[in-house]
């Protein structure tokens, strides 16, 4: 009984959250899975059971397999790696301390404050690929700077990797945040450790590689997880960028349009479930690993 009194209050305090999430997350997920196994199409729900038919249909759906899944894989790859690299570089640049660090940090961080819809509005113009007299946006800046050959068609290019262009506005939004994470991680390394390495005769780059870098692993994991899940869920940005352009279609977009434009609720639910499974394959290992790390400490 005494043990219950020890941890009972804690459980009680956290109980409302658990209950709320049980309903709003897991209950609704269950609803979603149930719908995905029905044939619901149109405004009136259908309560029949068709098993995995919708999932099988998706595997044969050209839009899903040929456009959506490769697109989201490419986008996630470019966005996550790009943000990590640039964020890391920015953190390294700022780590030693510069005058006006606060200003630089604020400039890099503030795009996160702007909603994805507003971001898309301006980046749509920036990535306009008109030619000749209609050149504008970044292409025009490049031309003015004498870098004509760098001109790009961005997400209108006929390349398979066209969607990677959208990683640019997405990265603009979130790289500042990644930088903050890395910077905090670097600054969190006790100076004594660095000093010890320096006293041993290591040059700055080696200090960094051997002392600081290993301590950044938890930060890296955290950044990867957050970036990846945002990337898989991103919807506003693509929606506002070029609506219904199949070249930049993603599962999240297909889910939205097929559900609310076409009324294919069962199919939409199946896509959502698959999307969640995709997220889970990355998250669950992370959570398991991270909890195991805690246990070891």
């Amino acid at each position: 009984m005494r043990r219950l009194r020890a941890w009972g209050p804690g459980l009680l305090l956290i109980a409302p959250s658990l209950v709320a999430l049980a309903v709003f997350v897991y209950g609704f997920l269950g609803w979603n899975i149930r719908v995905s196994m029905s044939s619901w199409r149109g405004l009136a729900p259908a309560h029949d059971f068709v098993g995995l038919d919708n999932y099988v249909a998706l595997l044969g759906d050209v839009r899903f397999t040929h456009y959506d899944v490769p697109n989201i894989a490419i986008f996630t790859l470019v966005f996550v790696i790009g943000s990590l690299v640039v964020g890391f570089v920015m953190a390294v640049l700022l780590d030693r301390g510069v005058t006006g660090e606060n200003v630089f940090r604020s400039v890099y961080l503030f795009p996160m404050a702007i909603s994805f819809i507003a971001t898309a509005i301006i980046w749509r113009w920036l990535m306009d690929n008109g030619g000749g007299e209609s050149t504008t946006g970044i292409n025009q800046l490049l031309a003015d700077a004498g870098l004509e050959s760098w001109r790009s068609d961005w997400f209108k290019s006929s390349s398979r990797w066209a969607i990677a262009a959208i990683a640019l506005p997405a990265g603009w939004s979130l790289t500042g945040y990644v930088m903050s994470l890395f910077l905090a991680g670097m600054r969190g390394v006790p100076e004594e450790l660095r000093e010890a390495a320096r006293v041993d005769g290591a040059s700055e780059p080696r200090v960094f590689w051997h002392v600081v870098r290993p301590m950044l692993l938890p930060v890296l994991m955290s950044a990867v997880v957050i970036l990846t899940h945002i990337s898989l869920k991103t919807f506003d940005l693509f929606y506002a960028m070029d609506q219904k352009n199949i070249k930049i279609d993603t599962p999240a977009l297909y889910m939205w349009f097929t559900t609310f434009d076409g009324g294919f609720y069962a199919r939409g639910a199946a896509i959502a479930t698959l999307l969640l499974l995709g997220v889970a394959t990355i998250i669950v290992p992370y959570i398991w690993y991270s909890v195991r790390e805690e246990r070891r400490k």
Binding site: L18, V25, S106, I117, A184, F235, A272
Partner: protein, 287 residues
Amino acid sequence: MTAVPPARGHGRIRSPWANYVTTARYLALFALACFFLMPVYALLITALKSPSEVSVVRMWQWPHALSLDNFAIVWPKLREGFTNSVLMALPASVLSSLLGAANGFVLSKWRFPGADFAFALILFGMFIPYQAVLIPMFQVMSYSGLRGGLYGLILVHVIYGLPITTLIFRSYFAGISEELIEAAKVDGAGMLRTFVFVALPIAPPAFAVAMIWQFTSAWNDFLFGVLLTNKDRWPITVALNNIAGSQAVPFNEAMASALLACLPTLLVYVLLGRFFMRGLMAGALKG
């Protein structure tokens, strides 16, 4: 873990390249800053142009006549939504931060059997695509009478913000030493007292991280906002959408409203920015 950026030149082998490196660093930082500010510049000058001047082909051209008219035009359209968004985002972010603090404290410092599993369950809630839960959530809110005013919307933002705030605080509290808690227990404090009088007072940096994230997400949300409220309680994102989404988009107005709409989040960043870095350094959001 208080670390300050090392004073320059202290105890280090100063190589002859140092000056070049420093200049290169400033150049790189400056170039990056230009990249980050370039879209804002474009937003700004379009917002200052008159309707006839606005054109995607001439987007980089400085306006012939600077005019704040666009701001004057869009502000009345945004004002009601602005108030609603403030009334919604502030309580939502504060509430979900507080609840996250409670959860994080319990999960790190006052554990119960199965705490790790509970944490995993909570964390997984972060990864739900919102469109997937739109319909059942709407129905639940509708049937429980919470649809229409701001309460339902605040509740939804609080609930869906619980995973990230719990993560933030759990990581943060994991970094504070056990002795503080032990000392409180020795003094005879129960869980609630320990939470309120020991954990919360040292939590402001984590609050900064949580509030920045939650405020931004609540402020910029459109879907939940437009679905769960009646017209007189629509948040600012609906007004933004109406300006920027109609058949003939007045881009000058759209950009002006985008700028106005992001001011409160910027304000939150400015006010909490200092604490934000401290919170991150102290371990909020570290694995």
